[in-house]
Symmetry: C2
Subunit: 155 residues, 2 copies
Amino acid sequence: MSEKAFQDCYSDDLSQCYGCGRLNEEGLQIKSYWDGDETVCVFRPRPSHTAIPGYVYGGVIASVIDCHGTGTASAASNRALEKEMDLEGALRFVTASLHVDYLRPTPMGTDLFLRGTVKELKERKVIVGVTVTAGGKVCAKGEVVAVRMPESMGG
Amino acid sequence: MSEKAFQDCYSDDLSQCYGCGRLNEEGLQIKSYWDGDETVCVFRPRPSHTAIPGYVYGGVIASVIDCHGTGTASAASNRALEKEMDLEGALRFVTASLHVDYLRPTPMGTDLFLRGTVKELKERKVIVGVTVTAGGKVCAKGEVVAVRMPESMGG
């Protein structure tokens, strides 16, 4: 793992995201890191993040896949350009589309382990596959199509 | 619109969902209703539900699409069986897959209007298309594949 989470390299004005912004006090504040050519994130759902009692809410699973995907897109783009994400500023991506297959109910009370794989890497578009494992089983698989944030959105 | 929200017809033990459970105090508590053959929901994101400042977080959009989709699946199944959802118990669906296309940034500070259309209706599987409109424009389109909750999950 690298030392600093991808999301902690975003500039302050782009760190408000509910899913991954380090400045959003109510948010999920997920943290993603490199693990070789793949990316990882560990997230523990809050007790309120339930669906049917005992199982994790699918919208929260979609959310962590989303932000792990855009974070991976940012990190992979920086790496391809040989830019130090921390020192030279992280390229910020937003989500063009999100797909999640819920393979089995995801148990509460245990960590979710996310693993991201870059499927396609272009200058302004990155496709990331994400698996979510809990209790030793893959519970969900997702795909995030991330695109470079339009300048009109700020930043 | 019918008088009572679909989600308010779920039994108490199935009303803990972060997205739509009326008993989840921290959750989004979305409410869905019939509008003719389609279904509608109005949701106002909280200030914390931001992505890039000024725009709604995609994970929250995915979440409201998810619960509006499963709620629509439940209501459509009850209607097809000519069962009164409120009196005879709502059939409970869970999400098998979720897809969201984010067509444009979704503005904060205004209501999201969701509209659901039943694309396919089988006894144990319902596919629902959902559009999300904000500020007069369709900002996202989603599809929820909902399946009847396995009895092993409780309820």
